[in-house]
C-alpha cells in the first residue's frame, strides 16, 4: 500500500511535471498538435494557431498603428491593455500604464465622472465625450473619448474598451476660430453701432452688386424695408435719369477695382428726390480679388441746391455785367496780383482770364490819365480813400474807351488794408451821349442868343444895306463918297452873312426844302469848287449810281459842301486830293461800321474826303463847336462846321467824321432818302429885270426898315402903299380903288400878325400875291424853322437886290399861272 502509494506519488509527480512541461510548451507555442483524449484522434494545433495569430497580428497592427490611443480596463477599472499611441499621447513608457487605475489618467476633479462613466459602461452603454486627460508631466490633452463595454461569450461584462483622439490641435484651432468669431462679432457690433451713429447711409454689397447690408438711415430715407432693398432692390430709389450713370459708374468701378463715386438723386419715402453723393470702396483679399464693397450715401441736396443757386446768381451777374459792360477787379497787396473779371477783360479787348501786372493794368489807361489813376490808387492803398473816376483806357485794338473805375480798400480783421477791389464799367456810349448833349446845349444857348438879337439886328442891317445902296445910287460916278459908302455896304453884307451863319448853326434859319437829287447839286457846284480849291488840289466827284432823292434846302446843301471844301483846302496847304462821293446806303442795326451817331435807316450819303493833315482826337471832339477854329486868327470864324452841323441836323440828317492825324479826314453826311418825285428845277431862273410897275401893299412896323424898303421899291418903279401895321393895311386895302398885286408884310407884328392880315385880305383881293418877310424862325408861317409849302418868304436882313429879286419872282410866278 505504502509502496503503491509512493509509486503513485512518483507517478503523479511525473504526470504533474509533464503537464507543466506541456503547458509551458503550449504557452511558448511549441506545440503542433494534441491528441483529443475523448475522440483519441489527433488535433493539429498549428493551423488554428496560425489563423488566430494572423488575426491577432492584424488587430495588433491596427491597434498599434492607429492615431487613437486605445486601452482596456477590467471590471475594477484597472488598465489591462494600452496601445503605443496612448502611451505616447500621455507621455508614459510602453507598458507603464498597465495595472494602473484608469481614473489615474484624468484630473482629480473629473474622476467622479470617470466612475460614473465606468458604471454606465458596465450597464452596457457606449458613449462619446470630449474631455481632457492628464499627461505624466501633468499637462492636459484634449481628447474625444469613445467607450464601449467588453463582454465575454456569455454576455458578462468583463471590462471597457476606451479610445481617445487627440483634440488638442483641433481644440486650439476651434478656440482660435471661436475667438475670431467672437472678435468678428464684436467688431460687427461696433461696426453696426458706428454705422447707425453715422449721419450717412451705409451699405455693403457683394462684388456682383447685390446688397447685403444697409443701416437704418437707408430704411428711414427710402421707406423701403431691408428685404425690399436686398439684392438689387437698392436700385429702386434711383432717379430714372440717373440710373444709366449710376450703372456706368458701377461697371467702371468693378472693372478697375477703384473707388465708386457718383452724385445722383434718390427718391425718399415722401416721393421727393434729393441729391446724394454715393461712394464705395472695394474690400479685397490678399490676391486682389474684390470680396465686397463698403459704401456710404451722403445727403448733398442742400449743397447741390446752393450750387445751383450760386450758378444761377453767377449767371445773372454775368448777364447783368455783360448788359451793363460792368466788371470787377481786385489787387492783392500781398503780391500785387491783379484779377480782372471776364467783363473787364472784354472792355480791354483782351482774352478772358488775362491777369495783367499792376503796371500793365495802369498802362492800359490813356497816357494823360495814368498819373491820376496811380495817385488815387496809391492813396487808397495808403489810407483807404475810395475813388470813383471817369477816364479813358486804350484797348488792345488801340481804341480809346471811356470807363468808370471805382476802387475801395478791403481790410483784414486787424484793420490792415490787404487788397483793393472795385468795379469797372465801359461808359463810352454814355460819355458820347453826354458830349453830344453838352454840345447840343451849347448850340442851343448860342442859338437862343442869336435868335434873340436876330430880329432887331436884321432890321438894322436891312436899313444899313438899304440906305447904303440908295446913297450909292444917288452919287455920281467918281464921287469920293462912293468908296466910303461902298465900305459901309460891304461891312453890312459881312454882318448879314454872319447873322445868317449864327442862325444856321443854331438851326434858327428858315429852310426852304425841296425834293432834289444830291448828284445834281454836287455836279452843278463843280466849276465853282474847282475855282475855290485852286490848281494844287484835284477834285474827284464820284457817284457810283443814281443817288436817291432827299428833301432839303438846296442852297443849304450847297453851303454844306462849300464849307467842307473850304476846310479841306485849308487842311491841304501844299495840295492834295478832294473826293466828293454820293451814294445810297441802308444802315440796319447789324450794319458793321455804322457810326454811333447815325441811327438805322435809308440814307443818301455825301462823303467828302481830303488827303490833308487830319486831326487830333482833341480837335475832333470840338469840331462842330461854334467859334472853335484851328485856323490862324482872322482866317476863320469858327462857324463853318458848326453851320454844317446845324444845317444837317435841321434837315433831319447826321454827320460823322473819321480822321487820323497825317492821313486826312472824311466827313460823311447822311440825309434821309425820300420817295417823293424830284422837282424839275433847282431854283427859279433869275428875273430878267429888277424893275416893276405893280402896286405893292407894304406892311412893316419897324419904321426904318419900312422907309428903306419903300425907297428901294419906289426907285425901281413900284407903286408902294406904305403901312405900319395890320389894321392900317386893312383900311388902306379897303379904300384903295385899284388892284393891289402884292402884299409884302412882316410876319411878327404887334396886334395882328402878317399871316392873319393875309387871311383877312384874301377874300377881298383873291388875286393879290403875298410875300412874307422875317428874320425870325418861330412864327406863324415857319414851324421849327421850316417854311410852309407854297409860301413866299424873304429872309431878313435883306439887301436891296434880294428884296427886288424876291418881289419880281413872286410877281412873275403869279403872272405865269
Amino acid at each position: 500500500m505504502k509502496a503503491e502509494e509512493v509509486l503513485h506519488a512518483e507517478d503523479v509527480e511525473r504526470q504533474l511535471f509533464e503537464a507543466k512541461e506541456i503547458i509551458a510548451a503550449l504557452l511558448s507555442g511549441q506545440i503542433d498538435a494534441v491528441v483529443d483524449s475523448k475522440t483519441r484522434s489527433p488535433v493539429l494545433l498549428s493551423k488554428a494557431q496560425d489563423a488566430l495569430r494572423e488575426s491577432e497580428e492584424r488587430y495588433r497592427r491596427i491597434v498599434e498603428t492607429t492615431d487613437e490611443g486605445i486601452w482596456t480596463i477590467d471590471t475594477e477599472g484597472t488598465i489591462t491593455f494600452v496601445n503605443g499611441r496612448l502611451s505616447e499621447m500621455l507621455g508614459y513608457a510602453a507598458g507603464e500604464l498597465v495595472g494602473k487605475q484608469s481614473s489615474h489618467l484624468e484630473r482629480e476633479a473629473a474622476q467622479a465622472n470617470t466612475a460614473a462613466r465606468v458604471e454606465r459602461s458596465r450597464q452596457g452603454s457606449s458613449e462619446e465625450a470630449e474631455l481632457a486627460f492628464v499627461r505624466k508631466d501633468g499637462s492636459e490633452v484634449w481628447t474625444l473619448l469613445k467607450t464601449s463595454p467588453i463582454r465575454n461569450t456569455d454576455g458578462t461584462y468583463v471590462g471597457t474598451l476606451a479610445m481617445i483622439t487627440d483634440r488638442t490641435h483641433h481644440k486650439q484651432a476651434e478656440k482660435a476660430r471661436h475667438l475670431a468669431v467672437e472678435a468678428v462679432r464684436a467688431s460687427e457690433a461696433e461696426f453696426r453701432l458706428l454705422t447707425e451713429a453715422m449721419p450717412q447711409i451705409v451699405w455693403i454689397t457683394r462684388p456682383d452688386g447685390a446688397n447685403t447690408y444697409f443701416n437704418q438711415r437707408w430704411m428711414d430715407y427710402t421707406g423701403l424695408t431691408l428685404e425690399e432693398s436686398s439684392g438689387d432692390g437698392w436700385t429702386k430709389p434711383f432717379h430714372p435719369d440717373d440710373k444709366p450713370l449710376a450703372w456706368q459708374a458701377w461697371q467702371n468701378a468693378t472693372a478697375t477695382g477703384g473707388t465708386y463715386s457718383i452724385e445722383c438723386r434718390l427718391r425718399g419715402a415722401d416721393a421727393t428726390y434729393r441729391w446724394w453723393l454715393i461712394r464705395g470702396v472695394p474690400v479685397k483679399d490678399a490676391s486682389g480679388n474684390i470680396l465686397k464693397w463698403f459704401g456710404t450715401c451722403t445727403d448733398i441736396d442742400a449743397l447741390k441746391q446752393g450750387e445751383a443757386r450760386l450758378r444761377e446768381s453767377e449767371g445773372l451777374l454775368r448777364i447783368a455785367g455783360r448788359a451793363a459792360r460792368l466788371g470787377g477787379w481786385s489787387v492783392s497787396l500781398h503780391d500785387l496780383h491783379v484779377i480782372w473779371s471776364d467783363e473787364v477783360c472784354a472792355i480791354h479787348e483782351v482774352p478772358s482770364g488775362t491777369a495783367p501786372s499792376l503796371a500793365q493794368a495802369i498802362e492800359a489807361y490813356a497816357p494823360e490819365f495814368r498819373g491820376t489813376v496811380r495817385e488815387k490808387f496809391e492813396a487808397c492803398v495808403r489810407d483807404g480813400t475810395p475813388y470813383d473816376l471817369e477816364l479813358q483806357i486804350v484797348t488792345a485794338t488801340n481804341r480809346r474807351v471811356w470807363v468808370r473805375t471805382i476802387g475801395s480798400a478791403e481790410r483784414s480783421s486787424s484793420g490792415a488794408i490787404t487788397s483793393l477791389r472795385g468795379a469797372f464799367q465801359d461808359i463810352d456810349d454814355r460819355r458820347k451821349l453826354q458830349d453830344q448833349f453838352r454840345q447840343a446845349q451849347k448850340m442851343e444857348a448860342v442859338g437862343r442868343l442869336a435868335a434873340g438879337v436876330a430880329h432887331d439886328f436884321n432890321n438894322l442891317l436891312s436899313v444899313v444895306l438899304g440906305f447904303s445902296e440908295l446913297a450909292i445910287d444917288g452919287l455920281k460916278p467918281g464921287d469920293p463918297l462912293r468908296a466910303d459908302i461902298e465900305e459901309i455896304r460891304k461891312a453890312g453884307n459881312r454882318a448879314t452873312a454872319l447873322t445868317r451863319q449864327l442862325l444856321a448853326f443854331s438851326r434858327q434859319q428858315v429852310l426852304e426844302p425841296r425834293v432834289v437829287n444830291l448828284n445834281d447839286i454836287v455836279e452843278a457846284m463843280k466849276p465853282m469848287l474847282n475855282r475855290l480849291l485852286g490848281e494844287d488840289i484835284d477834285l474827284t466827284v464820284l457817284s457810283p449810281g443814281p443817288a436817291g432823292r432827299v428833301l432839303v434846302d438846296p442852297s443849304q446843301v450847297e453851303q454844306v459842301v462849300m464849307n467842307f471844301a473850304v476846310n479841306a483846302r485849308d487842311a491841304m496847304p501844299t495840295g492834295g486830293v478832294l473826293t466828293i462821293e454820293t451814294s445810297n446806303v441802308t444802315l440796319d442795326e447789324a450794319y458793321v461800321g455804322r457810326p454811333a451817331e447815325v441811327p438805322p435807316g435809308r440814307f443818301v450819303m455825301l462823303a467828302v474826303t481830303d488827303s490833308g493833315l487830319g486831326m487830333t482826337e482833341a480837335t475832333r471832339a470840338r469840331l462842330f463847336e461854334p467859334f472853335f477854329t484851328t485856323k490862324e486868327k482872322g482866317k476863320g470864324t469858327g462857324l463853318g462846321l458848326a453851320t454844317v452841323f446845324g444845317i444837317v441836323q435841321q434837315s433831319g440828317g447826321y454827320v460823322s467824321v473819321s480822321s487820323e492825324l497825317g492821313h486826312g479826314t472824311t466827313f460823311k453826311v447822311y440825309l434821309p432818302r425820300t420817295d417823293r418825285v424830284a422837282e424839275t428845277s433847282l431854283s427859279n431862273p433869275p428875273a430878267a429885270t429888277m424893275n416893276g410897275s405893280e402896286t405893292i401893299l407894304l406892311v412893316e412896323d419897324e419904321e426904318q426898315v419900312r422907309i428903306v424898303a419903300c425907297a428901294i421899291l419906289r426907285r425901281h418903279g413900284y407903286n408902294v402903299l406904305e403901312t405900319s401895321n395890320g389894321g392900317e393895311a386893312y383900311l388902306v386895302s379897303i379904300d384903295f380903288p385899284n388892284a393891289i398885286d402884292l402884299l409884302l408884310t412882316d410876319v411878327v407884328m404887334p396886334r395882328m400878325s402878317g399871316r392873319r392880315l393875309a387871311e383877312q385880305l384874301a377874300p377881298q383881293r383873291p388875286k393879290m400875291r403875298v410875300l412874307f418877310a422875317s428874320g425870325y424862325t418861330d412864327d406863324a408861317i415857319i414851324h421849327h424853322g421850316v417854311l410852309e409849302a407854297g409860301v413866299a418868304f424873304l429872309q431878313k436882313p435883306f439887301t436891296p437886290q434880294a428884296l427886288l429879286r424876291k418881289v419880281r419872282d413872286v410877281l412873275d410866278a403869279a403872272a405865269a399861272k
Binding site: 509533464e18 510548451a25 511549441q30 506545440i31 503542433d32 491528441v35 484522434s41 493539429l44 494545433l45 498549428s46
Partner: protein, 96 residues
C-alpha cells in the same frame, strides 16, 4: 511497434511529430543535430507521425507533438516541445 534497428546502440529515441508542422520540423532537425553532436557513436531515432499513428502515441502516453521519448536507457524520459533548448534536451537524454 517497430523493433530497434541497432541493438548494440546505447541510446534509443522515438520522436512523435505532427506532419510537417513547424515545431515538428524544428524538433526533427534539432534532435538529429543534438544526437550527432553529443552521441555520435551510437543512437537510434525513430520518427512517428502522430497524424498517422495516433494510437501508438496514446500507448506511449504522448498527448502532444512534438514529444521526444528516451526509450533506452531506461527509465523512459519525455521531452516536450521543438527541442530548441539544447541544455534541457541533454539533461533529459543523459539523466537516469
Amino acid at each position: 511497434m517497430g523493433k530497434p534497428k541497432t541493438s548494440k546502440a546505447g541510446l534509443r529515441l522515438r520522436l512523435y511529430v505532427a506532419g510537417n508542422a513547424p515545431n515538428s520540423v524544428s524538433a526533427i532537425s534539432n534532435a538529429r543535430a543534438i544526437c550527432a553532436q553529443h552521441f555520435p557513436s551510437g543512437h537510434e531515432i525513430e520518427i512517428v507521425d502522430l497524424l498517422e499513428y495516433p494510437l501508438r502515441a496514446l500507448a506511449d502516453g504522448v498527448v502532444v507533438t512534438p514529444t521526444l521519448l528516451r526509450l533506452s536507457p531506461l527509465p523512459v524520459r519525455k521531452v516536450i516541445g521543438n527541442l530548441s533548448d539544447v541544455a534541457q534536451v541533454l539533461l533529459a537524454l543523459a539523466g537516469k
